[in-house]
């Protein structure tokens, strides 16, 4: 596998330096398994660290924060990847989007499971109150609910079944999910809003870029 990656990088560099900057779909499919492992690894590492009690003094809080932070970053990454894929040379990035999106959902699920199981140990009465009463929890929960249809319709078969147009409309939900999830993080932050502000800024730039391209094209 390692040699595959090396060959792939070499090829890409060669191509770049010689004539063509285009990231080919062939190269993309070679890189993909590595990105898969890269995205899976953090969850395995944190779960392992939790099991050997190596996640700091308040491990449940730490685990929940790490999972949520990465989930949010991956949600934003799907937006970024689609924007980059609009560039001629990087069109092949399209093929990465679904995997990143599904990993975002995977980390959201783990984040939610940590909250329900480890933090509140199935105290449903409390959890229900928390979701209804606390704006930041509500926002997180809504983001999760909105992600479900995206995850369920992520297969190629589903695109065919729904027709591309309907499928695309469903997946436009990501434009709502990204700012909601970021606000979920923003609201739970006590004083240092730098990190959520950076995410909001990235989302804003990506949206502005999209609108600009749309207007420009017409």
């Amino acid at each position: 596998m390692k040699s595959k990656l090396v060959i792939c990088i070499k090829e890409w560099i060669l191509k770049n330096t010689i004539k063509d900057m285009t990231l080919s779909t062939k190269m993309m499919s070679r890189i993909k398994p590595f990105i898969f492992i890269l995205l899976l690894l953090p969850s395995l590492l944190w779960i392992y660290k939790l099991s050997i009690n190596n996640l700091g003094v308040n491990p449940i809080e730490k685990l929940m924060h790490n999972l949520g932070e990465l989930a949010l970053q991956l949600i934003i990454a799907t937006l970024l990847v689609s924007s980059l894929a609009q560039l001629k040379y990087l069109r092949a990035l399209q093929n990465l989007r679904r995997m990143i999106g599904l990993f975002a959902f995977y980390y959201v699920l783990l984040h939610l499971a940590t909250y329900i199981v480890l933090d509140h140990y199935f105290n449903w009465e409390f959890l229900l109150k928390d979701v209804l009463k606390r704006p930041f929890i509500s926002l997180g929960f809504i983001s999760f609910l909105l992600l479900i249809p995206l995850a369920l319709t992520s297969t190629k078969a589903m695109v065919k079944k729904l027709t591309y147009k309907v499928w695309k409309d469903i997946h436009k939900l990501i434009y709502i999910i990204a700012p909601l999830a970021t606000m979920h993080f923003f609201l739970l932050t006590k004083a240092d809003k730098k990190e959520p502000m950076i995410y909001l800024l990235i989302i804003f730039i990506l949206y502005a870029w999209r609108i600009f391209i749309k207007v420009f094209k017409h």
Binding site: V57, N58, K133, P135, D192
Partner: protein, 305 residues
């Protein structure tokens, strides 16, 4: 008392740790103090544990010194332990101002002269929903207040943390308006449970815990227990307190631990004791209701949160 002996840091281990810390981490700190009395033990092991209540067990030294909210060193929980090594708590002086007989600046050594340090095992409840049990060394703030002789107009006391951005990396960003300030009503300040602490687990406070001395008010949320104090000001009107100034809707001046009054963004009904898996119910006034509730009789604690 139903405390498993395995839940309690054995006294021997605690002494060993002391030796270890003396030998490595904080040797310069402790030796340059020259006054080991800053954290001298008055109690033996049994007396110490007698201060623990049912269901309570001491948090380890490791936990208490590696999980802190001290935004002057950064907003992450491990930032204070990781980014406080440049801070120099020696020499230290405290300026006493406002409605007192003799406003002046005192050296910490002079303040501590003639004062006997006591062991106080207190629960500490953070507004974020976690808690610890900490064996502090310190003395009742009232001893000091009596020394300063405040006038009868002095209804409140305000405290101020040192401002040294060159030694405190967190202060280089305007996350909060520096310097950090906090305040107590005079009766709260004079209450025998309110202490100024100079040490924990038998040795001087580390920088991340508020060296060289800090306030500890066990029935209030942790942020009231201001660290690394350089100013004590006696005033007539309710003084500014940083968090309640920054966000008055979420943090009141009193900030008494109260499971019935939720923080707007999270519930205060339960807490996670650091080192324990399941949450426990938060107690009214953090379990010090018997001792302190008389001070708030007739007050609407939902209004004065």
């Amino acid at each position: 008392m139903k405390i498993l002996s395995s839940e309690i840091t054995p006294y021997k281990a605690y002494l060993n740790r002391r030796t270890f810390i003396k030998g490595t981490l904080a040797s310069s700190l402790i030796t340059s103090f020259g006054t080991p009395s800053l954290a001298h033990h008055e109690l033996g092991n049994d007396d110490f544990l007698n201060q623990l209540e049912e269901n309570d067990s001491l948090n380890t030294y490791d936990e208490i010194t590696n999980y802190n909210n001290f935004y002057e060193f950064g907003t992450g929980k491990t930032d204070p332990a990781e980014h406080s090594h440049d801070f120099k708590p020696i020499p230290w002086s405290v300026s006493v101002e406002g409605l007192v007989k003799n406003p002046a600046t005192y050296y910490l050594e002079d303040i501590l002269k003639g004062i006997t340090l006591e062991d106080r095992v207190y629960r500490l409840r953070c507004v974020e929903g976690w808690s610890m049990v900490i064996p502090w060394q310190g003395f009742s703030l009232s001893l000091l207040i009596n020394k300063f002789e405040p006038s009868s107009n002095a209804k409140y006391v305000q405290f101020e943390t040192i401002f040294r951005p060159e030694e405190m990396p967190g202060q280089r960003r305007n996350v909060l308006p520096w310097p950090y300030v906090e305040g107590l009503r005079m009766d709260e300040a004079m209450h025998p449970l309110t202490i100024l602490s100079t040490g924990l687990y038998g040795h001087s406070l580390l920088n991340q815990n508020g060296a060289p001395f800090r306030l500890v008010v066990p029935w209030k949320y942790g942020f009231k227990s201001i660290k690394s104090i350089v100013k004590i000001r006696f005033v007539e009107k309710e003084p500014q307190a940083t968090w309640s100034f920054v966000n008055p809707r979420e943090y009141g001046f009193y900030s008494n631990v109260n499971p019935e009054v939720d923080h707007p963004r999270w519930s205060q009904a339960s807490e996670r004791r650091i080192g324990k898996f399941s949450r426990r119910s938060t107690l009214m006034f953090n379990g010090y209701e018997k001792q302190v509730s008389y001070m708030y009789k007739g007050m609407d604690l939902k209004k004065y949160y």
